[in-house]
Amino acid sequence: MNTELTGIIATFLLTLVIAIPLGKYLAKVFAGEKVWTDFLKPVETGIYKLSGINIKEQMNWKQQLKALLTINILWLFYGFFVLIFQDKLPFNPDGNPGMTPDLAFNTIISFVANCNLQHYSGESGVSYLTQQYVLMFLQFVSAATGIAAAVVLFKAFRDKTTTELGNFWEFFVKSITRLLLPLAFVVALILTFNGTPASYEGKDKFISVQGDTVNVSRGPAAQMIAIKHLGTNGGGYFGTNSAHPFENPSYFTNMVELIAQVIIPIAMVIAFGYFIRRKKLAWTIFGVMTIGLFMLLIPMLSSELGGNPALAKMGISQTTGAMEGKEVRFGPAASAYWATVTTIISTGSVNSMHDSTMPMSGTWQLLGMMINSFYGGCGVGLLNYFIYLVVAVFISGLMVGRTPEFLGHKVEAREIKIAAIITLLSPFLILAGTAIASYIFTNHGNAAWAVQPKSWLNNPGFHGFSEMLYEMTSSNANNGSGFEGLGDNNIFWNLSTGMVIFLGRFLPIIGPVAIAGLLGAKKFIPESAGTLKTDTKTFALMTFAVIIVLNALSYFPALALGPLAEYFTMLK
């Protein structure tokens, strides 16, 4: 068998081997049961003491959200000012300038929201201080925020009826000390010993073999690359992210980074089932998500391995597949696998340039981000999936003519209203955003912005439209990858995507946590013969159908104007 395919099969299997035990471990950690990492307890106690936190204090869902939002808003202010004044602050060996306010607005929201859309380039746009004290810091804490929010949801369904959902700070701190930090340490060292820079040395300069003078950007990259994957953040240290040979030196590191970004999202699903003592539910959710992964991966593999039909017409041999924007050491198969997982789980790091992938691959990447819950981001993937579950429960309830119930709690009008708003939010933000951008591109091409709207697009025709659609979709999904040909560092894109990221992050956290809190407080109804069982194959199929129908109805017209249209014009 072809070594490129065995490579991705091995990567996926290794991911499961790590993620499933990790999920069981996480369930125990958050339930406060004994685990082997309990030797870290003194560190946590120290953190609570220094921060004035009493973890015995129980919070209801509103207090949980208040704590979550307070600390997130604090990070927004802190980061914004560091980004603007980074040129005047220390640790700037390359002398990079401060950010403009609109770029800082975009960047800080993007990193607080675990999105990591980057309208700057790592080599020239930020200082070492910003890379570590703002960006890498936020990669840890934004992932921990998502995980902690998911644990609040776990709590709501563990006991029969409860309003006490634990302590937000405890979940948040434990996500870092018991999960993200130890794993980041291991991954960072693996990367360092395989060639990724980790030291604080500034730019280097050498004379090449042919006599050219070459400047080399370096810096403490390994530390950031580890957490950017584990926390499904995706914001790279260098401009081209994990396609850069320093960020991703070899096929081996590529496997490590691929595994690192998928293990926590899968582990959270397993942890959910073990935590609420309904293992079968976790496995059905995992099943739906995994089938979703393969339904996007297989067609993407086939279009990338098939190569570019336009190049085939010129007589070039594409025995390995399409190579534009890809690196030889990974090859098209591992690049397609990466493009799939990075879009379904909201990492948004890239090891190839998505703008240059085949049109049908672009369709699958966009769909992965639109659905945004096949595994999904750290913690938030499960929250997104929970909304689909609630909608599926509601529709099934209507079909069999019973009051819908989820895990022993009646789902009523209030919960459904919240779920409906969250479901409608994504298409609204993505489609309205793209429509406004298209309008400005066609009618105000000469606006005097840093990049004039008429020169936004790097590619003509349908592909240009896809670039704008991708940017809005990626922002709403808090993904952060891009069709990077788009000239996005100007006031329109910085402000519009900043707002889309903000809404696309916090409303889909608030909504599910509120629904879970409301449901958890309701009277528990014991299971009877008439109960709709949510852990059966039938219900899994129902959820899958809900996901497909909702997304197809919302996005098919937009996809038809972009990547699908490009695909059909290339066929002729």
């Binding site: 490579g7 050219d212 070459v214 081209t240 030196p249 030889v328 590619n459």
Partner: protein
């Protein structure tokens, strides 16, 4: 509410120390033991640094193996891909002209011998590798320009070919910089 604000500020400060000082400095410290001391592995020739093992560099002279096209001319302080879409007419013209250049400088090869990686820009613009086929089509040119035996060049290519990881996973590749230095050392 006020309580949450104060807790947030204190917790943020504590975590800044843990995550932004202790963690990265420890990694950087241990990383000093890696090749290149955690600053990237350098390659030297006659005591001078001529490049980084992981970073591709521009080769245009006929006596050297050429690397992949780069959207940023191998600028290691500003990586980027071309971000050209697959159906972009300008892009297709560019590919055509790269193909013509290869055919011109490597007489004896056919269109269908040219692998995709030699006419398409890499993702980072710094790809250090080419495919085995990408090296194979250049062997005759190198041998002629250096007036050495074709067999010798082929041997060097084989020696500088990196097989799939553990022989099982991923593609094989040829490191252009190392191969060219081996040629110079003949």
């Amino acid at each position: 509410m006020k309580k949450y604000i104060i807790q947030s500020i204190r917790l943020t400060l504590v975590l800044l120390v843990l995550l932004c000082v202790i963690y990265p400095v420890t990694v950087a410290f241990i990383g000093k033991m890696s090749k290149g001391n955690g600053g990237g592995e350098k390659i030297t020739k006659n005591g001078k640094t001529v490049g980084y093992a992981l970073l591709g560099q521009s080769f245009t002279k006929p006596q050297y193996f050429w690397g992949r096209p780069s959207a940023v001319a191998y600028n290691a302080a500003g990586s980027a891909g071309s971000n050209k879409g697959p159906s972009n007419p300008d892009y297709l013209k560019e590919v055509q002209s790269r193909m013509d250049t290869l055919l011109k400088y490597n007489p004896g090869i056919k269109k269908s011998d040219i692998p995709a990686d030699m006419v398409t820009a890499s993702g980072s613009g710094l790809d250090p590798n080419i495919s085995e086929q990408g090296a194979a089509i250049q062997v005759d040119r190198i041998a002629a320009a250096r007036k050495i035996d074709v067999k010798k060049v082929k041997e060097l290519v084989a020696m500088n070919t990196l097989k799939p990881f553990m022989g099982l996973f991923g593609p094989s590749s040829v490191n252009v910089l190392k191969l060219n230095l081996a040629l110079d050392a003949l």
